[in-house]
Amino acid sequence: MHLAYPAVLSALLFCTGLYGVLARRNAILVLMSVELMLNAVNLNLVAFDVWLSRAAEETLHSGQALTLFTITIAAAEIGIGLAIVLAVHRNRGTSDIDKLRDTAEGPEPEGPEPDGPDHDALTAGQAEKAEATA
């Protein structure tokens, strides 16, 4: 088999996951995209391991061992990540990562999205109202 097939497929899958991480808004969808990226890396590791075990007489099978480690670490990561998402959802009532801006710098976040100014103005109005009532 030509080595370019698995390499190209894993590159495409990785970039698909990259798009998902950058463009998604729900935290769980972001976790799904991270899983896609990790799987792309796994495919690369397996393909190069199968190639090197024959071409370079490499008997360590480091690619497959690393793939098993990556799968395990991905399972641990998804467990911790979902626990964090659930904790945030319990405290904030949302799993929208665009709304979690408490550590952002500046007085008010200015979103580049078209519905950003309305939302920010609404939030600022609520904040002023809260301060006035307090």
Binding site: M1, V8, T16, M32, Q64, R92, T94, A130
Partner: protein, 241 residues
């Protein structure tokens, strides 16, 4: 001088090897394994694309099953059978189920959700397309004349994987079990309900000024905050429909 001569000899040797390889495998005569790999790869890539673009959250998780199952078939085609079954067991069996539970527990809207994609979608698309073009170009250019030899005994059989894992990789394997234990304890600690709410230190001032509207309610009246969270999601669902 001798170094240069050795380098030239090595270069000539590699050239001979690659030319013989290119003669043995034609560019335009794909084998059956390559055709199967290509077809399954197309299915996998399409499922991954739908996963990152669909607006229905549960459908994204279900298409992720297709993508991960397709990758398991690719591992089988690469003769890595143990990795393939581990992939089926862990990813399709547990990770996707965990993701579905997460979607249910965060009360994800059923049906089309209008705000699944962020506002910087086009920037993300540009970055992803440029990265994909660069990576594919580099990879194809680098491994143009490289073939995987899939004949003979399977390079990734369970016997080979197990022998290498328990002869050469025992210490990382044991360290991995400690990591899994740490992840288990961490997940339990994170998802336990905090009992001492009053003794927790005050949140920073930005949260108190209402940069996210539900924070003060959920901190002062946790039950009402939860009820509010439950109340918003059916409205979002109806808005989605």
């Amino acid at each position: 001088m001798s170094l240069a001569a050795a380098a030239a000899t090595a270069h000539a040797t590699t050239t001979i090897t690659t030319t013989t390889a290119a003669e043995a495998h034609g560019f335009l005569s794909p084998t059956g394994v390559e055709i199967a790999f290509l077809l399954v790869g197309l299915v996998t890539f399409g499922a991954a694309l739908i996963t990152v673009t669909t607006r229905q959250l549960v459908h994204a998780a279900l298409w992720l099953v297709v993508a991960l199952g397709g990758l398991a078939v690719e591992y089988l085609l690469l003769t890595a059978e143990f990795i393939a079954w581990v992939q089926v067991l862990i990813y399709v069996g547990s990770v996707v189920v965990l993701l579905l539970f997460g979607l249910m527990l965060t009360k994800a809207p059923i049906g089309r959700s209008p705000d699944a994609d962020s506002g910087n979608r086009w920037v993300a698309l540009t970055v992803a397309v440029v990265a994909a073009a660069t990576l594919v170009w580099v990879v194809v250019d680098a491994f143009r004349t490289t073939w995987i030899d899939l004949d003979g005994p399977a390079a990734g059989s369970t016997r080979a994987t197990g022998e290498s894992l328990f002869q050469n990789w025992v210490l990382p394997f044991e360290a991995l079990s400690v990591l899994l234990l740490a992840a288990l304890v961490g997940a339990i600690v994170l998802s336990r309900k905090a009992k001492a709410e009053s003794s927790s230190p005050p949140v920073n001032s930005r949260a108190a000024t209402g940069s996210s509207p539900s924070v003060p309610d959920s901190r002062n009246h946790p039950i009402e905050g939860n009820g509010r969270g439950e109340g918003t999601s059916p409205a979002e669902q109806e808005g989605a429909r």
